[in-house]
Symmetry: C2
Subunit: 345 residues, 2 copies
């Protein structure tokens, strides 16, 4: 047995100890009993629309499809498919006037938390999480991501839009109804900025997109999990989390705004296959996922959107928190092998 490896992320100056000697097999995580979120009246279930702020976007069922509305009095509609509402306790709030719109320049130590914080109710069905969702419903979810991204990223005080999902109480989902969140921020967050800078540097040096190169490398290798006509899914070389995987489009695009109808369908299928595989393999673990994308049009050459999925199977403790170096007890190669087999079986 040789040494554990300390691996660097493709782009970020982020190092992870792949500590196989303390390793467990991926399936060893499966038996844990998970704490459940409190039950009671669900604010997100149909019939309780009046308990939330008015929606900013509603997809109404309409024949075999949906009709989009921004009707302020949306609580009249009970036949919705997807509903996006402002977060009752927003971390970021919209500016109240023109003055505060201008006050968003990044100063040395503080900026006002101007922006948006929304909750996307993914389905009228409480438990319709992506692993088990109808494909048509998951397509609506992706469509709604894109609609909100388009709307929010056009505002002058918005510099980034983070679209993410927390699944399970241990991953921070205090409410159990299937939902995602959208946060629009007044500055580009650190991790995204670091990725933008590194990919821009790579592009200047090589006239190539670093993510397209990563796809080429990972497609044929031991960390590949799934490939279809539109997407490649793999466990990243320096996975920070056990069973982590990334979903990346083959088509070079910096953001989600130009997804075609067939791209949306393929993303819904890919999400369902991968999250379904994870659920089956590790007993419906808590997880977080987040889209990484570029708002700035200048980034269209060098940035490449993708979705990072972080199963929550370990705890970041004193070492990780005080050093910014991580320990992962499952090799990405083993994670990929198990996920690949589970998904294809």
């Amino acid at each position: 047995m040789g040494f554990n490896e300390v691996r660097k992320d493709y782009l970020l100056d982020r190092w992870v100890v792949i500590a196989t000697e303390r390793g467990r097999r991926p399936t060893d995580f499966a038996n844990k009993e998970r704490e459940k979120a409190k039950t009671g009246v669900c604010l997100m279930c149909p019939g309780n629309e009046h308990m939330t702020p008015p929606a900013v976007l509603v997809y109404l069922k309409h024949g075999n499809g949906i009709r989009k509305t921004e009707d302020k009095d949306d609580t009249r509609h009970k036949n919705w498919a997807v509903r996006v509402i402002p977060n009752l306790f927003p971390a970021f709030a919209p500016p109240k006037n023109k003055t505060s719109q201008r006050k968003t320049a990044k100063c040395s130590e503080m900026i006002p938390a101007v922006g948006h914080h929304e909750v996307l109710v993914e389905s009228p069905n409480h438990d319709e999480h992506p692993a088990d969702a109808r494909l048509s419903q998951l397509e609506y979810v992706v469509d709604a991501y894109v609609d909100r991204l388009r709307e929010l990223s056009a505002r002058p005080y918005v510099k980034y839009v983070s679209i993410f999902r927390n699944h399970g109480l241990e991953a921070g989902a205090s409410l159990s109804h299937a939902h995602s969140q959208i946060i629009a921020t007044p500055s580009i967050p650190k991790t995204v900025e670091d990725e933008l800078e590194a990919s821009k540097r790579f592009w200047k040096q090589n006239k190539k997109c670093v993510f397209c190169e990563i796809i080429k490398k990972e497609r044929g290798g031991p960390r590949l999990i799934l490939e279809n006509s539109k997407f490649v899914v793999f466990a990243p070389y320096a996975s920070v989390n056990p069973m982590e995987f990334w979903i990346i489009p083959k088509k070079h695009e910096a953001t989600l705004l130009d997804l075609s109808k067939s791209d949306v369908k393929a993303l819904a299928e890919t999400l369902k296959a991968c999250l379904g595989g994870l659920k089956k393999l590790v007993n419906d673990p808590p997880y977080n996922y987040g889209f990484h994308l570029a708002i700035d049009k200048d980034a269209s050459d060098y940035y490449h959107w993708h979705l990072e999925v972080y199963p929550k199977l370990a705890i970041w403790a004193g070492f990780e928190k005080s050093t910014g170096m991580y320990i992962n007890t499952v090799t990405p190669e083993a994670a990929a092998e198990h996920l690949r087999k589970t998904i294809s079986s």
Copy 2:
């Protein structure tokens, strides 16, 4: 009510939304029932020394004091006060020969995980955690931190020594016996490197230590928690965690190696007071702490060691993990006020 604030760390490019509108009072965290670590045979309790690898350092009780030994056959001794043992599942392992000692240069994407990973058993008494420990015992713990730091940092393949403590299952302490951990790494971890660079830059520009300036600023302000002859304790301006606090020595020193006997005593007293206050205020919450220090002698002008304590009262979810931006629901000013009152009462 104005906007929430997005605040920047003193040194790091790390931004935190202080989201008071979703805020809870610090004491709201107090009622949660905490999951306990499994009970059973404790590997760290006296009488079970044979179940662990041989110690690398033992403090034996000796009259009214202690006697230090590196006796390889330490399992004969039952009268120890502190025992440092190699971790059974080390993330980093010592090199086996001269060749691998040289192989530790940081390459582009991987380095072998050469180093050390040790467990410091803080007391023969299972539950003697710092909040409730005898002061004399806590002084031994600090002494042992210094002894191991001196020993490990002298090795040529060691570039950093992380001394940290996980308290409670939710903070990653899978064993409940009072213990700390020490990890020696073959590269300087990201967070420490960023702090070193930023403080060096500040020193070049101002010929002053940035941490000495932070102490000056925080001593008289609303985030001060405790001050005694040797230490200042405060909630940092851009606290990432609810109830986070830092303990920093008034004397400018880059590392722990020159602590005097009275410094050690004062640190033990300060630790006990602050962790005792936290325990009382928030019902013995899980927490992590980690020392930040410089190994390199060149840093002695510009770096200033300190201890960062992170209570685990919130979950980093999809937003934090995919953006590197944080949301903290307790203002550092409120955290400081509550901790100050609890400690002084």
